[in-house]
Symmetry: C2
Subunit: 406 residues, 2 copies
């Protein structure tokens, strides 16, 4: 395993971790932009742009883009979150250069008016579709309720209205600023030749224009509001809880992940034993979401409508026993083993490694080995977790519940 | 990479593929039983049993089972399909023996009446929950419509009624027959010690009683029925199409996968270009499902209600152009690259390798290397695909559509 780094004059960072024993390789462009970098007026533009990158360049039609990927057999995709837009592909090593070349081209898309108009319908269909997914819907709405006017509350997809209003020119202006090379990391992991990747990036990306691209990093205390919404199409009650957590830059982020695992891992957590195993809820999980300069603890619970009061009472009891009695050494050891094995298994595959490699650079501007993360997790103590519990009141949450009409 | 095989006197097969350079290891019990092995009376019992295995043994409570997994940090789970129930775990190599030991214990569960009664509610909640997932619901209903009275049409979850009626004694009787050692394969992949696994299996599983465990393998021509159902809670139209395919034992199964990829891969397929790229549908995919002695081509399409007629017309045009004009060399090459890279990437991880290893033994009673599969895929010709198109009329399908009330 060997780490490599280069930076072009225009600010584009290229990083790579070479693993000659891997059977595949993965490449990704990590663009530091997402819905939190949007104004209300252009809400949804980051995700819209993600779609538009597949519509082609001055030289390539969408059909040719698709055919170019198809030739390589790449497993490729992209995703947009509140703060990142990532384009990636995993391929057999012999196709890595071809697929990297292709991504470098796509990162300078044509953004044609005709494509923009057609894609508007696709995006609006996607928004409509997510209305059929209550677990997504409730989280999206709760994020808005929690972050209030803070831009981290912006919906990634945007709304039907914001997408309707969006113009191609607004998109192009956003693109020019946010897809500036100094706001992008090109990362590669697995079995590949570093020099070839660098010379490809150099010849393809050097002409990209540097631009100022900053991000507001205000703290978000969270609204702590509580709401229930009704939807006639629902059979179950979907509940989302959010409270402030710490940031992706905070050294205590590993302790926060361990805490969320202890409280709300799929199985074996306090939520699991108190809610799922007792058949009060079908699902009850908590995740810690580390973000740029901020963060959230986010729980999602699904249960029958009649169980709602009992579920909320149980959740409060779980949080209050955490505050009064803390956690045990045994719980911490188990959570560590879970997180450690997930980490090692994920990073065993070049595609999984790529994600950690890219995000570590995006958030920290530094390289961390898998061993660095393993050691940081192993070093967390019960007292570290207790300090977190004291500082971040999990019981003091924003709550959105989405359920059937009563 | 080294393949190993043992068989206990009671019929339990133990197979392993040792890869000393892997950073993790995976173990799984592959039980050859699923909803197609159930009668209508006990429909859902296989999946119910999968849940019950986590409820403990004569020696272990459910809490202790969970704690035992937690200690190892295993990524563990189980799934039940129409014809298999699989219990698996991926762990760091130092925990493999511990987790294998645990699974051998769990494979002889206590099946306590109290647990059975509580778990009934959990299963019924799961059934209710899937009513909120239209893509699942439509596929489940279409499978029933397509297979008609053939047991492959049985729902994996069962119905609220069948679960209500099910008794603990019926479950125990089913368990005794279907979880006989001669109906189970224990598979291990990744970085592990073969001799240790064998002696664990020997000492733990040798007392399991052999029993006759067969399966009906009738052919299923498919009903070709067409139905539309309305659900007031839906915003979109969900369409499932099924037609007969070939079996998991058929050497032409690789050609069938390639055909389904050409027609209905997520991106770059005929469905993609005719339906998704043209914004007629949000999703349009086809998959080939190889089963024991039978198989299906299964398509899933989601679109607006108003687009439904146009979507179905386009689907028919896609199938009819396949029959009249066939496919191109270029399409086949691309499909091969996709399937090859997915295969290699999946098998790079011990957990992914485990699944192929276990299922190859379950269906074929033989070991296939990744290279065997790669070569079989590379050998498929355009003419092979044309023979399939001629034999399996994709346009002659069972159709179920689930959409909003009109």
């Amino acid at each position: 395993m060997e780490f490599k780094k280069e930076q072009l004059a225009n600010g584009l960072v290229i990083i790579g971790e070479v693993n000659k024993s891997a059977k595949s390789a993965a490449v990704g462009f990590f663009v530091k932009t997402g819905s939190r970098d949007e104004t209300k007026k252009i809400n949804g533009v980051s995700h819209f742009l993600e779609h538009m990158l597949f519509k082609g360049t001055e030289k390539l039609t969408a059909l040719q883009v698709n055919e170019a990927f198809d030739r390589t057999g790449a497993q490729f995709n992209a995703f947009t979150s509140e703060e990142n837009t990532v384009f990636y592909a995993a391929v057999l090593p012999e196709y890595l250069l071809e697929v990297t070349n292709l991504w470098t081209e796509l990162m300078r898309p044509a953004l044609r008016n005709e494509d923009f108009d057609i894609e508007k319908d696709v995006i609006k269909q996607e928004i409509a579709m997510y209305k059929d997914l209550p677990s997504f819907d409730v989280t999206d709405r709760c994020r808005k309720l929690h972050f209030d006017s803070h831009p981290c509350g912006n919906s990634v997809l945007g709304t039907e209205e914001s997408i309707d209003r969006l113009t191609a020119d607004q998109m192009r202006a956003y693109f020019a600023n946010r897809y500036a090379p100094n706001n992008i990391v090109l990362a590669v992991a697995g079995n590949f030749d570093w020099d070839q990747i660098c010379s490809t990036a150099q010849s393809r990306c050097s002409i990209w224009q540097k631009r100022p691209a900053s991000r507001k990093l205000d703290q978000a205390p969270g609204s702590k509001k509580k709401e229930r919404l009704e939807k006639s199409n629902l059979a179950r009650e979907h509940i989302c809880l959010m409270s402030p957590g710490l940031s992706a830059q905070d050294p205590k982020r590993f302790a926060a992940s361990l805490l969320a695992t202890i409280v709300g891992d799929d199985v074996g957590s306090r939520f699991f034993w108190e809610l799922v195993d007792k058949a009060l809820a079908e699902t009850a999980t908590m995740q810690f979401g580390a973000m740029d300069g901020t963060g959230v603890f986010c729980s999602y619970i699904r249960c029958s409508n009649e169980n709602l009061p009992k579920v909320l009472e149980t959740v409060r009891a779980v949080f209050s026993s955490l505050s009064s009695d803390g956690i045990t050494e045994d719980e911490l050891t188990k959570a560590k083993n879970k997180i450690l094995s997930a980490l090692v298994i994920k990073n065993e595959l070049p595609m999984g490694r790529l994600v950690d490699l890219g995000f570590n650079w995006t958030y920290l501007q530094r390289y961390r080995t898998v061993a660095d993360d393993i050691n940081a997790i192993k070093a967390v103590t019960v007292n570290n977790i207790h300090s977190l519990i004291e500082k971040f009141k999990l019981g003091d949450f924003t709550q959105l519940s989405l359920g059937p009409a009563q």
